[in-house]
Amino acid sequence: GAGVSQTPSNKVTEKGKYVELRCDPISGHTALYWYRQSLGQGPEFLIYFQGTGAADDSGLPNDRFFAVRPEGSVSTLKIQRTERGDSAVYLCASSATAQETQYFGPGTRLLVL
């Protein structure tokens, strides 16, 4: 079956712009996660959804970052007033339940000029 997909695969934007990153989880997975991977680092947790609700958004770095999952499937990570430090690979993962194996998408590489 299809894995986790993310669009776009690459996004180049200018400082101060707004961007949206999309994640399509594996069908039927109730848990969805966003991670951020900066150059030379491992992925860092951003937010966890159980169904439609954000159960844990403790990893979001500041209020410029926001994520939604309105129908409990597709999720969108939104970044306002982008800064050069936001440049990273944004990874999405999903799992059948919160305690089960997380399956990762290929990521969206965001470059803020």
Partner: protein, 116 residues
């Protein structure tokens, strides 16, 4: 706070040689332990995981890892490396207690180069 250390940033081995990638964690209790592999342009793929029980865990692609409580380590091994194993490898942990038993904490990764 829990942390994961992968002491080797970059390792080079010859094809057919054995491999051991090191991982140490810092946490009061035994966490859940994972190894993921990331190839260029690919998502993270789970190689193996340890929750409890037998401390030697078998994974996909011929990899295994051994949990050693006394050393707080979870090293990844493969007896004979193939050129297709060249990738970046990440060790990760989850705190099984408390309310965050879904949150993966990753090490910084070890880049594996395989020479022909």
């Amino acid at each position: 706070a829990q942390s994961v250390t992968q002491p080797d940033i970059h390792i080079t081995v010859s094809e057919g040689a054995s491999l051991e990638l090191r991982c140490n964690y810092s946490y009061g209790a035994t966490p859940y332990l994972f190894w993921y592999v990331q190839s260029p342009g690919q998502g993270l793929q789970l190689l193996l995981k340890y929750f409890s029980g037998d401390t030697l865990v078998q994974g996909i692609k011929g990899f295994e890892a051994e949990f050693k409580r006394s050393q707080s380590s979870f090293n990844l091994r493969k007896p004979s490396v193939h050129w297709s194993d060249a990738a970046e490898y990440f060790c990760a942990v989850v705190n099984p207690s408390g309310g965050s038993n879904y949150k993966l904490t990753f090490g910084k990764g070890t880049l594996l180069t395989v020479n022909p």
